[in-house]
Symmetry: C2
Subunit: 192 residues, 2 copies
Amino acid sequence: MPLAKPDPLQRVIVDAALEIASGVGPDAISMRELARQANVSHQAPYHHFGDRAGIFAAICEEGFAILGNEMQGNRNLGAEALCESYVRFALNHRGHLRVMFRTDLCDMASYPDAAIQADRAFGILYDEVVAMVGLDADELAVQTQTAYMWSVAHGLSTLLIDGPLLNKIGSVQDMDQLIKNIARMASSSIGV
Amino acid sequence: MPLAKPDPLQRVIVDAALEIASGVGPDAISMRELARQANVSHQAPYHHFGDRAGIFAAICEEGFAILGNEMQGNRNLGAEALCESYVRFALNHRGHLRVMFRTDLCDMASYPDAAIQADRAFGILYDEVVAMVGLDADELAVQTQTAYMWSVAHGLSTLLIDGPLLNKIGSVQDMDQLIKNIARMASSSIGV
DNA sequence: GGCATAACTTGACATTATCTAGTTTTCGCA
DNA sequence: TGCGAAAACTAGATAATGTCAAGTTATGCC
């Protein structure tokens, strides 16, 4: 029986980074600490990612890809499900989310692969809104409603992950209900 | 005519920090750079703020105080105005906002003065929702709707400041209209 | 005046990102 | 099988950072 192939270093490093990001936060990520956790020299991560921003770019790309896939999977279930899947992604991948919207950590304009995944995720939401408001709706209305849905999902996500919202909510059960209720409120505002 | 009293060092330092925060981002804030910009030794800021987190705590406290005041001023104009004032605060004080929800930069639990201002701002929003849904509404409904309003305002704010939303919107005029429309959509979902 | 306290300065240390320059591994191909 | 180049690393050095410890100056009050 062949030995299991060890995880490629890049995977190990990104996982270590995500662990730190979802714990203390992305700023605590240091190249040398990642190298230490991967048991390699302090320069090994540079070979794969170029610099610190490269690590964040990899996280962005992966994060938006996962988010896109999850939204894609719930695409036929309406805006409510889309909103819910956004928030659930955030809760299940808080390390990713904490990096994905930090333009200071990684300017996506410099990392086209990451930007592509981000645009794709946005496009799925956009298309869903188009489907709800109708193809004949004017551009501005679609943009507004897309921004609205995105704001609700993104706002709730960030408030749950980093904001004081968790402190004001009792149990996880409550949180689950809260997410569902808010997703429903948001989707019922669309297309009217 | 007496000489104008020079700004106290704390003000100079916080302003320098805000300048950096609203530009590159809060992570680029370094104690030594702040000292440099204030023309003092690299240890002077420590005397006033204790450590780096102390600077962020001061920014949080000030930010939530300003936000609270602006919301308080628009309190009688309904949830729509409240939501709008939140977003406008974010746009006009992006340095503050970028710090206020970064629990990794400053754990508000360790800075009661900051926490008080944050609770106050939240309370204003909460009271407004109570006023809209009626005093007889049950606790869960009020919590849900408060979280909803907050999510919309906060989500739109962060997406406009750091997210890719700006790239997808044409002019500042459009942005103004977008904010108004979204605030209206949000407030019309309340209390139904 | 005297003196306690606040408001700083100086120097040192460990840690960091990143540059430059090696060294070892791997692998396609003769 | 062996070789040669590219990939995957290692090693050392530099400048910058946060923060500790210890000194010095300025302020305000009795």
